[in-house]
Amino acid sequence: MTYRGPYKVRVEEKDKPRIEHPNDAVIRVTLAAICGSDLHLYHGMMPDTRIGHTFGHEFIGIVDEIGSSVEGLKVGDRVMVPFNIYCGSCWFCARGLYSNCHNVNPNATAIGGIYGYSHSTGGYDGGQAEFVRVPFADVGPMVIPEWLSDEDALLLTDAFSTGYFGAQLGDIVEGDTVVVLGAGPVGLAAARSASLMGAGRVISIDQLDYRLEKAASFAYAETRNYTHYDDIVVEMKKTTGGLGADVVIDAVGAEADGNLVQHVTSAKLKLQGGSPVALNWAIDGVRKGGTISVMGAYGPLFSAVKFGDAMNKGLTLRMNQAPVKRQWPRLLEHIRAGYLKPSDMITHRVPLEHIAEGYHMFSSKLDGCIKTVVVPGS
């Protein structure tokens, strides 16, 4: 697929990616997914998104070609690829901050490398395609264990790993009340993961009833539809006896609804880096001394965040793009133990040829859409 400007994508023939560095691999994509953060690109919110760019940072595939210095993969391997592009050796990678690699993104120092996520994250084409270039093949990709299904592996390349990471950033202790804003794929994963970390109550908040039903069945969460309340912050206080939640996880990000002015000035008019509605609800709804974990993606421009309240309440704010591969060993243990089934959140599968309709359906939240998988060559 290629980007043709805000709200427009199409499928077209491009040259097959080639080995450009000795540790590159070329992967033949077998499954990709559309991520909620792809919608920020699709809506024209991410600076330096160029015409002809191929989106897609969630994908798995088969190794088609390897560079001369690749030692850990061979042609034909079935691999999952974390959405982060990283070298494994810079100051940040040496400390486990794989999502903050300094050696892969000339266009910005504040952001690491990400597949198919504009030139602001390095200018790499993504995996919503038949083939994709994968830099540092000895560092990022991992051979998929035989027992793991393609769709579960796909969900580990970003959405589920990000939600799991987000719950960890909440620093949850036994009995905590955890509110998760947003019941999309990352929110569902965060809510499910909060219980693994011992949360006493998990409360999922969204405006879409079908997603809240999923939060109840998939993540065993209590649910609140914020449109049913005059002020969701007051409800967050009431349900915790006036205290506020111990931990709030923002799994919404730049296109948050709930305040028309904030949404329109950011998502439509691009005057803010993102709509801070969820972040402001988190600041107001968490208890004093509590922790906010930000998993929602925001653009690099400023946003109207209520920072004064965050300071006055003594909050801890923790955030990052998830260093995905760090999460995998433990997540694979949980899947194998039967605790988790990430692919249960997939609702739609579309051929690559119909990806424009897949984007519109996901963007407009039609037909009960939660997670859309893209199948090349189907």
Partner: protein, 186 residues
């Protein structure tokens, strides 16, 4: 209530939660959490077998943030800078750090210039941009458009989407029409 020392709404017991939620508490111990601690100095575990990676070639002309002290060894080559939009973007990279709003606003301006030019150029090709197929609106026909939107607050601003997509073109068409009419009258 928080006016006394006790937690106002006590959580269910661990036994209740273990019975209800598969895997509840499996990661209670922070040592089992892979993201804890955030920073762990362990340069040997990533799979990298280099101190500093080989440098990708060619490197000439690749734009970079002025906050980078050098061009990083590896970079994307997906859509090189070109034309007017390329000049705007290069100015943004060469002149302003990431800390300046001008940097990002110029990049957004470059995006709009490029998309406008690409749409116009596509009209001269055998495959012009098609707003019907490229926006995917045809999916509305078989994805329950009315039932899916019932009771949703975001429907209010979804009405703005077609205006945002088509509005600039209608506006530009109007300006061209007015200028043309004025010229013809002279």
């Amino acid at each position: 209530m928080p006016y006394t020392a006790d937690t106002p709404v006590p959580p269910p017991t661990a036994e209740e939660l273990r019975a209800r939620v598969p895997g509840w508490g499996a990661d209670l111990d922070h040592a089992d959490r892979p993201a804890w601690p955030k920073e762990r100095f362990a340069p040997g575990v990533s799979g990298a077998h280099w101190e500093y990676p080989d440098e990708q070639q060619p490197r000439e002309g690749r734009e970079r943030s002025i906050e980078h002290l050098q061009l990083p060894p590896v970079f994307g080559t997906a859509q090189p800078l070109h034309g007017v939009s390329g000049a705007i973007r290069r100015f943004a990279y060469d002149r302003f750090s990431e800390g300046r709003a001008a940097h990002w606003l110029l990049l957004v301006a470059g995006d709009r210039v490029e998309s406008t030019g690409a749409h116009l150029r596509s009209l001269l090709t055998l495959r012009p941009d098609n707003p019907v197929t490229e926006t995917g609106v045809l999916s509305e026909l078989h994805r329950h458009p009315i039932a899916s939107r019932r009771g949703r607050v975001d429907v209010r601003h979804q009405l703005l989407d077609p205006v945002l997509v088509a509005g600039p073109w209608v506006l530009a068409g109007g300006v061209v029409w007015m200028l043309g009419r004025r010229l013809l009258r002279r």
